[in-house]
């Protein structure tokens, strides 16, 4: 089977500083692999059988190559970076267009396209289903398990109120629900192999997309105004060493409610 895992790189939030006005300071922050994507990739690699191939794709700036290299080190067979200055400022729709074009042009006949649940930098997980819509293929959201059943696959989806088992049709989009907060490490042979591997880069022209189909020009939505999140609360901060006293204070607050 041929799997394509779409991964996302996010700013390294662990090592990121805050500006004085509360916004995130992105200078010098290198991209790292989003943990949700990493989880999805690992689930696919673990279920990989002989003869299967797993390729990885992401849309991002040239620095994102290091993240793809890491995917190869973890066991992906190939990786492709979709990168073009014109891709900057893309909203979900414009990103989905780029991914869908890539799938149609370069991954014909793939069996399954895989995403993580969402990304840790705040996007809410619409991308897999916009891509599924553009490709006109089945979509499986909130997947907790992806089983092999002979030559086909079965997904287990958790909608919260209902758990569904569905057979996975050809070319389906799978979005995993979980994440492993502890993540994973490369092993050395994988890492050494990844240094040799060739990360393919495709730009806008390779994907056959017009200038007005991508990036901010191809994005129907745009940000009109950014406002800091104001607070109307009058904050009182107290430092208390004794948990007993702190507890009494909280309990006092509770009693005031009743």
């Amino acid at each position: 089977m041929r799997f394509v895992v779409a991964i996302k790189q996010v700013p390294d939030t662990e090592n990121m500083a805050m500006n004085d006005d509360g916004t995130v300071d992105r200078t010098g922050v290198r991209p790292v692999m989003d943990p949700y994507s990493e989880y999805a990739l690992r689930r696919i690699l673990e279920s990989k059988r002989d003869g299967d191939t797993v390729s990885v794709v992401t849309m991002g700036p040239p620095q994102a190559e290091s993240v793809l290299r890491r995917c190869v080190a973890l066991g992906a067979d190939s990786a492709c970076l979709l990168s073009d200055p014109a891709f900057a400022g893309a909203d979900v729709w414009a990103t989905a267009r780029v991914l869908a074009s890539y799938m149609q042009k370069f991954e014909c006949g793939y069996d399954c396209m895989v995403f993580g649940r969402m990304s840790s930098d705040g996007e809410t997980g619409q991308l897999p289903f916009e891509v599924a819509g553009l490709l006109d293929v089945e979509q499986h959201a909130y997947v907790t398990d992806l089983r092999r059943d002979g030559d086909s696959m079965i997904s287990v989806q958790d909608y919260g109120d209902v758990v569904r088992e569905c057979s996975v049709g050809a070319g389906a989009v799978i979005a995993f629900a979980g994440v492993d907060p502890n993540g994973t490490f490369m092993d050395v042979p994988g890492f050494l192999a990844s240094l040799e591997s060739n990360i393919v880069t495709k730009n806008r022209v390779d994907l056959g997309l017009g200038l007005y189909s991508v990036g901010s020009k191809g994005s129907p939505t745009s940000i009109r105004r950014i406002g800091t999140v104001g607070s109307t609360r009058r904050n009182r901060k107290v430092l208390i060493k004794d948990p007993r006293r702190a507890a009494d204070l909280v309990l006092g607050e509770l009693e005031a409610m009743e």
Partner: protein, 346 residues
């Protein structure tokens, strides 16, 4: 999607200027759409989903033009018509032929209705199903979608959608250059309307294509958990909780005060609490009378879910945690010790 690059030139937009690339619409001011009104997908789950009801009522109150509803199901839904009209739907499309939820065909059918109705705005509740249906529909309609909005402001047929921006403690006002404009909105964002009986036009819409997806089995999760949205007192646990046994203690403390325990994403990711207890962008929006946050740093995503609590108390050892700016009272103290001390008192 057509095989060509699509939508980047006027010939690819099938002669429909509304389908021109958004950048061109903006640059040459070509938007000639005649779309009008608001269409809401009405989700059914043991009755009308509250998020849908809230959206209908808000659309009626603040929006411009007619309010259209789309509901999927069999004849049994007829009994809900008065309630649906009561919330403010003017015209209801009742889609038949899709007895079981299937995102592919639901999106297809919704797209058909949208083509017919030509609404300026399409809204859905940001429920698990809404969250996967809306993006697929947006892709079919080739329009933009703003997910998980925290507020909508209508101006004529146009709507400005506000949501927390990607990373960072900022809110972004977002507009969409194409029609319909699409948004998903969490339950609890708008006031919950009182059920009342109303009347309006109901139209049957027969969906004729077969369901492609093969569903092998479906099990209802036994959800005995009461909804954290109903709790007046909420004790919230975050990444600062280092010891799983504290959850049990928090549960005891909460029950002593007639409240419930909820959490931030960190706790759900660790597998310590179910997703149904998660407050925030990717969780649930709550509006309790008092929200006591233990060990929650207070990312913008989390705050989106609890900003409307009447009173917020934060207990955290980190004096620089952003949560303090959003709390009425901050206590800098060991989280676990305070929780334990509260229990002994109860």
């Amino acid at each position: 999607m057509s095989g060509c690059s699509g939508g980047s030139c006027s010939t690819c937009s099938d002669g429909d200027p509304d389908r021109l690339p958004p950048g061109m619409l903006r640059e040459y001011d070509l938007n000639q759409s005649t779309s009008e009104g608001i269409l809401v997908w009405i989700e059914m789950s043991d009755g009308i989903e509250e998020a849908s009801a809230e959206l209908i009522a808000e659309s009626k109150r603040e929006g411009d033009g007619r309010v259209f509803g789309v509901v999927f199901g069999g004849p049994e839904l007829k009994s809900y018509y008065p309630e649906i009209f009561g919330y403010g739907v003017d015209t209801l499309y009742h889609v038949r032929g899709l007895p079981v939820y299937s995102p592919e065909e639901y999106a297809e059918a919704l797209a058909e209705v949208v083509e017919r109705v030509n609404p300026a705005t399409v809204l859905m509740g940001a429920t698990p199903r809404g969250r996967e249906l809306a993006p697929r529909l947006a892709a079919i309609l080739q329009t933009g979608l703003t997910a998980d909005c925290t507020s909508l402001s209508f101006e004529g047929r146009d709507v400005t959608m506000t949501r927390p921006a990607l990373t960072g403690n900022v809110m972004a006002d977002i507009t969409c250059d194409r029609y319909p404009q699409m948004a998903t909105v969490r339950r609890g964002t708008f006031e919950k309307p009182e059920p009342s009986e109303g009347t309006g036009t109901a139209i049957y819409w027969q969906y004729t294509k077969p369901v492609k997806r093969e569903i092998l089995s479906e099990t209802k999760s036994v959800e005995t958990d009461t909804d954290i949205r109903d709790a007046k007192v909420l004790i919230a646990l975050g990444g600062g909780i280092r010891d799983v046994s504290l959850i049990e203690i928090a549960e005891k403390v909460a029950s002593e005060h007639g409240g419930m325990v909820c959490c931030s994403r960190a706790i759900v990711d660790r597998g310590w609490m179910p997703r149904s207890r998660q407050v925030g962008m990717s969780g649930i929006t709550v509006k309790p009378d008092i929200y006591i946050a233990f060990g929650i740093s207070g990312s913008v995503q989390h705050r989106a879910g609890m900003a409307d609590a009447k009173r917020v108390v934060a207990v955290n050892t980190d004096p620089d945690a952003p949560i303090h700016r959003f709390a009425d009272l901050s206590i800098l103290c060991d989280v676990g010790a305070v929780l334990k001390a509260m229990l002994k008192n109860g």
